[in-house]
């Protein structure tokens, strides 16, 4: 019998597909000089390598949150294992304390007491209006007022120590095989980007270390209205952000590429038809098209409740649908770009030379057009990512984003803004969502900039 039963949600499957495709592409690119060269340029950028480390941490957390399973909850009469209805992920498992240690309602970061006064029954009888102690946050402290600062300092130092130790260990492991040795790696020009990556990595590892020592004992980012840990919510939102940012592009790519290069290559009525298609789609304001589609989906889902096994699956379907509909609204610009580029390419002499050999249309498209527009596709994919992450927040705010049960930064903001009028301000949910989003989007933007410069030959010629 197995202690757990793996579960593959629809978005999980697509993420694994995406991983497989990226891996395949990387393997292919390694063997082709013209594909490898621009990535080399990316690797020579300090900004890009630093940003990549940040993105890598996000992706790792997102992937941990993608391995879903049902835990075994006992055996039935026939001796078969029964599994819990609740679907968990590996991340949930790791962050079990965060997930389970819910308070009653709001509490500030590192607080030991609730944010609102309550009537407390005194042990010796009688009542008093006061801020009650938190059930979990700082519960290990005997005298919170006196001990808290010292305890936090100690745990912080410990966390930094853990981070530093892990960093040194990792560095030693990575540099073990390099022939040049420490000293040279430390000083020479060529390893600059690697050093930038190492420094950012140190920062990330310290953050991980701090999470280990602090997050279990305190609510480092406070708790929300129902007492759930905000740090846990922020971590869980990472997967949602990444899924929207990547799967949207993945689902729209085939249509955009195929239609774009067909319109540019064949021209004539094919071009007219495809242009009509994308002009029509892009003439509907994006938000309204998404709103209309999401409203329709909500109706469909509420009428077909029975086809979903669990809330998690339902929320997952809604996430996937949102990616689809975002893809429908965003493929048109890429399609238009590719059409324009193909129009230029088909005039080039090597396409005419192929024509002079009697090479067929399909072969010409695959051999001469597609490989020469792929850099545009890549640039657009990378540039779109951050825009999509930001869009998720806005859509969730208008209630046409992800399912309210799904953890996402948009949902965090949405529920927090209702408390904006409160005095004193409940600011930590907003701050948490802001920080997590900002770091990811900034890293993605910086990385995208470098990728564009490396792949856009027009820019390269200029410098």
């Amino acid at each position: 019998m197995m202690p757990f039963q793996p579960v593959m949600l629809a978005t999980d499957a697509l993420i694994f597909l995406l991983l497989g495709l990226s891996g395949g592409f990387a393997w292919y690119a390694r063997r082709h000089a013209h594909l490898r060269a621009p990535w080399r340029r990316v690797a020579r950028s300090r900004t890009a390598m630093g940003a990549l480390v940040v993105i890598a941490l996000y992706v790792t957390i997102g992937l941990l949150d993608t391995l879903h399973f049902r835990a075994a909850s006992g055996t039935d009469e026939q001796g078969n294992t029964r599994y819990a209805g609740e679907i968990l992920s590996v991340l949930d498992l790791i962050a079990t304390p965060l997930r389970e240690q819910s308070e009653k309602t709001y509490s500030a970061p590192f607080a030991t007491h609730l944010y609102a006064r309550e009537t407390i029954e005194l042990p010796q009888g009688g009542q008093v209006r006061d801020f009650p102690r938190l059930q979990w946050g700082g519960a290990h402290l005997a005298d919170p007022l006196a001990d808290r600062a010292g305890d936090i300092l100690l745990r912080t130092l410990l966390g930094i120590g853990i981070g530093l130790f892990a960093w040194l260990l990792l560095l030693a492991l990575l540099l073990r095989r390099s022939a040049q040795g420490w000293r040279q790696w430390w000083s020479d020009e060529e390893s600059g980007p690697q050093r930038s990556a190492a420094w950012v990595g140190l920062l990330m590892l310290i953050l991980v270390g701090l999470s280990l020592t602090l997050a279990g004992a305190y609510h480092v980012l406070g708790t929300d209205k129902v007492g759930e840990d905000v740090y846990y919510q922020s971590l869980k939102s990472i997967r949602t952000g990444l899924v929207i940012g990547t799967l949207t592009t993945l689902v729209m790519l085939p249509a955009a590429i195929l239609l774009g290069i067909m319109a540019g290559y064949f021209r004539g009525w094919v071009d007219d038809l495809i242009q009509y298609l994308y002009t029509t789609l892009s003439s509907v304001p994006g938000v309204l098209l998404i709103a209309a589609a999401v409203l329709m989906m909500q109706i469909y889902m509420s009428n077909n409740q029975e086809s979903f096994n669990s809330l998690t699956e339902r929320a997952d379907m809604r996430l996937l649908f949102l990616c689809l509909i975002l893809g429908v609204t965003s493929w048109t610009s890429l399609c238009r770009l590719l059409r324009g580029e193909t129009l230029k390419l088909r005039q080039l002499e090597y396409v005419q030379a192929a024509q002079a050999f009697g090479v067929g249309h399909f072969t010409t498209l695959m051999r001469h057009i597609l490989p020469n527009v792929m850099h545009i596709v890549l640039i657009v994919v990378v540039l779109d990512f951050s825009g999509l992450v930001l869009a998720e927040a806005v859509l969730s705010y208008i209630n046409i984003g992800v399912d309210p049960n799904t953890n996402s930064w948009g949902n965090m903001i949405n529920s927090a803004r209702l408390e904006l009028a409160r005095d004193p301000l409940v600011w930590w949910s907003l701050l948490a969502a802001f920080l997590f989003m900002f770091v990811l989007v900034l890293a993605a933007n910086l990385f995208a900039d470098v990728v564009r410069d490396a792949f856009d030959p027009r820019l390269r010629e200029r410098s």
């Binding site: 082709h32 000089a33 013209h34 080039l348 002499e349 090597y350 005419q352 030379a353 192929a354 024509q355 002079a356 050999f357 009697g358 090479v359 067929g360 072969t363 051999r367 001469h368 490989p371 020469n372 410098s463």
Partner: protein
């Protein structure tokens, strides 16, 4: 031009020890390395050299207009005694346009597209001509008249796109003259223009120089332009001047081995049976410090001393060369002779023949996009290509010669007429039957940069035709054939696994030739295959084409605007003007005794690399009309100095002057 009495020549520009670097400080490319030159008043000094030799960088260094990565690291520039490199930027701006005017290679992109040309010239007037600064219009009109822009009152308010290339270059010249500069720098001013327009612009520069007495620093790669314009010449190689001389002695006796090789690689009629000289190897990269002669590795005359130290400058700075060897000790080997099969007197049956070929592109207008007219790129053209022979199709840009090539090969479908090949009319063929025939005729393009897919390996590029036509056989046979082809065009077998961008322009053109030959065609259309190449590289490609023709009995349609290439390579010539052939005949007849006034003007416009041959001949005025709206009657009558009333009414019939020499011109009507 005006030599002036010796000794009293006024030096207007003096450059000494100029060094210019590009790129990062720690890994610089030294584009200009220690250049000294003088320019006298009223004199034309021509810098000549192949691409990348640093000649444009000299011009930009003088103007202090280097790209942001570039800087002058050493040397001095004196303009009428003032040291330009030490001036603060504010004062330097006064010298730009005021002391030195400059015109550039690309008139198409050198003017602001959204500002009227009058206003752009007026800006220069306002800056440098205080007398006219308040109301510059009159002065701009005067400048326009001075540079020969017809109808200046109308042109002054037009935008650059409304002017032809020649007119734009005249506007650029007007702009440069606005400040009445003592020095004019002209950086390849006619390279982007057709020969007839080039002749106009060069004549204009000479006239203006005679009028104003300015010194001209002309930069070019064309020895013909040198002969036509120069008083003195400087030859650039790899960032250095390797020879300076007065033009007469330079053309009589070039001294530096590089200069000599340049002359010997120029194609002309006299070398038809010989083959052209080539310069082996490539220009060394300039990101290194040299301690030997830069030309040594490519030099046939190199001796032991060349491997020991830097070559000295022999002779006067104004008249000397950079070489260890005395002039009489420089010995160059005889040209590697290209195999040339003399064309058979009787050509036999044509391999491909076009009759009344038309390619019209519709012009659509109005709500319903109705066709209201046609751009008649090719309009009723007859020609025949014979096995083993070369027909050169000559004409200026826009005359439709490239369209002819593509229409013959069915890369563009004809609007009318027929193309007969092997008993089939190609214009009627579709689908599989045409596809199968395609292996018989191939094409080589002009631009070696865009003629190959940058994402494909050279081996795959060469094999593309084999695979498409299904004649490769198995993988090993295919591989063997690719290697054999590469060998045939003189490329190493290791090229197979490399990408096109790793090769130089000339090598890429060889790959393109190998690709075309892979399917064993009988006919190859060569569409300006050498016009993007330097002369020494052009020589390699021309030699190769000639050798291959002799070996494989190929038939060439050679599309070009370069008359000297025609003289070297072609058996027959057809001259095109506005979609039609106006004259056709054996090469020696057409080039030596041109009959059509257009052919005569075209040939007269070509600058000849011989300074004694500065002919004041028929210059063609105006530009070629639009093929969308050709003139009635003879298309050429508006520019023809010998046009008669009949020419305005009727398109001339074809008259045979000699066997196979035909011309479409009414001048020859009475002979019938």
């Amino acid at each position: 031009m005006s030599e002036g009495p010796a000794g009293v020549q006024e030096t207007v520009l003096e450059v000494s020890g100029l060094c210019t670097e590009l790129g990062p400080q720690d890994k610089p490319v030294r584009a200009v390395d220690g250049v000294d030159l003088h320019l006298h008043r009223g004199e034309t000094f021509v810098l000549v050299g192949e691409s990348g030799c640093g000649k444009s960088m000299i011009a930009l260094s003088l103007m202090r207009l280097l790209p942001s990565t570039g800087r002058v690291v050493q040397g001095e520039v004196r303009l009428q005694g003032r040291s330009l490199l030490d001036l603060p930027e504010v004062e330097m701006r006064r010298e730009r346009g005021g002391g030195i005017g400059m015109i550039f290679q690309e008139p198409m992109t050198s003017l602001n597209p959204v500002m009227s040309v009058g206003k752009q010239v007026a800006e220069a007037v306002e800056l440098h001509d205080p007398a006219h600064a308040a109301s510059p219009r009159a002065r701009v009109l005067e400048l326009f008249r001075q540079v020969g822009i017809p109808d200046p009152e109308r042109r002054i308010d037009e935008y650059p796109h409304q002017l032809s290339g020649g007119m734009k270059q005249r506007v650029m010249i007007a702009m440069a003259l606005a400040g009445r500069p003592g020095v004019l720098i002209a950086d390849e001013p006619t390279t982007a223009l057709d020969v007839t327009i080039q002749a106009q612009v060069l004549q204009l520069l000479r006239d203006l120089q005679a009028e104003t007495g300015m010194g001209i620093l002309l930069i070019t790669h064309d020895l013909g332009v040198v002969a036509e314009m120069a008083d003195r010449v400087g030859v650039m190689y790899a960032g250095q001047l390797v020879e300076t001389a007065a033009v007469g002695s330079f053309f009589k006796q070039p001294r530096h081995p590089y200069s000599r090789k340049l002359f010997r690689s120029l194609p002309d009629a006299g070398k038809r049976e010989l083959g052209l000289d080539i310069i082996k190897g490539m220009v060394p990269p300039l990101n290194q410090a040299f301690d030997l002669c830069r030309f040594r590795d490519r030099c046939e005359a190199a001796q032991a001393v060349c491997g020991e130290r830097l070559p000295p400058w022999q002779g006067d700075p104004q008249d000397g060369y950079r070489c260890h060897l005395a002039v009489d000790r420089i010995e160059l080997q005889a040209s590697e002779s290209a195999r040339h099969a003399p064309a058979a007197a009787d050509a036999g049956q044509p391999l491909m023949a076009a009759s009344d070929l038309r390619v019209h592109f519709p012009i659509r207008k109005g709500v319903l996009r109705r066709t209201v007219g046609f751009v008649k790129a090719v309009d009723g053209l007859d020609l025949a290509l014979y096995p083993g022979r070369t027909l050169a199709l000559v004409g200026e840009s826009g005359c439709g010669k490239t369209t002819v090539g593509k229409a013959l090969l069915q890369l563009l479908r004809a609007s009318g007429g027929r193309v007969d090949y092997d008993g089939a009319n190609l214009t009627q063929l579709r689908g599989e039957s045409l596809r199968r025939l395609r292996r018989e005729f191939q094409i080589i393009f002009q631009d070696p940069a865009s003629s190959m897919n940058p994402r494909m390996l050279v081996g795959d590029i060469v094999a593309e035709g084999l695979r498409a036509q299904g004649i490769a056989g198995d993988r090993r046979a295919e591989q063997a054939r690719v290697l054999q082809l590469l060998d045939q065009v003189g490329l190493p077998a290791s090229s197979v696994g490399r990408y096109p961008h790793e090769f130089s322009g000339g090598q890429r053109q060889r790959i393109a030739i190998a690709r075309a030959l892979a399917v064993k065609p009988r006919l190859v259309v060569c569409d300006e295959p050498t016009s993007a190449l330097d002369v020494s590289v052009q020589a390699q490609v021309l030699n190769l084409l000639k050798t291959l023709q002799a070996e494989l009995d190929l038939s060439y349609l050679f599309i070009t605007h370069n008359i000297s290439v025609v003289a070297y390579l072609a058996d027959e010539v057809a001259v095109m003007y506005l979609g039609r052939i106006v004259e056709r005949g054996p090469v020696e007849r057409v080039l030596n005794a041109p009959a059509h006034p257009y052919t005569q003007a075209l040939l007269a416009s070509v600058p000849v690399p011989d300074p004694d041959d500065r002919r004041e001949v028929l210059r063609l005025e105006g530009d070629m009309p639009s093929p969308a709206n050709p003139p009635t009657g003879c298309h050429f009558h508006e520019r023809c100095p010998r046009a008669e009333a009949r020419c305005r009414r009727e398109y001339p019939a074809r008259f045979e002057l000699e066997p196979q020499h035909e011309v479409s011109c009414w001048l020859y009507a009475q002979r019938d």
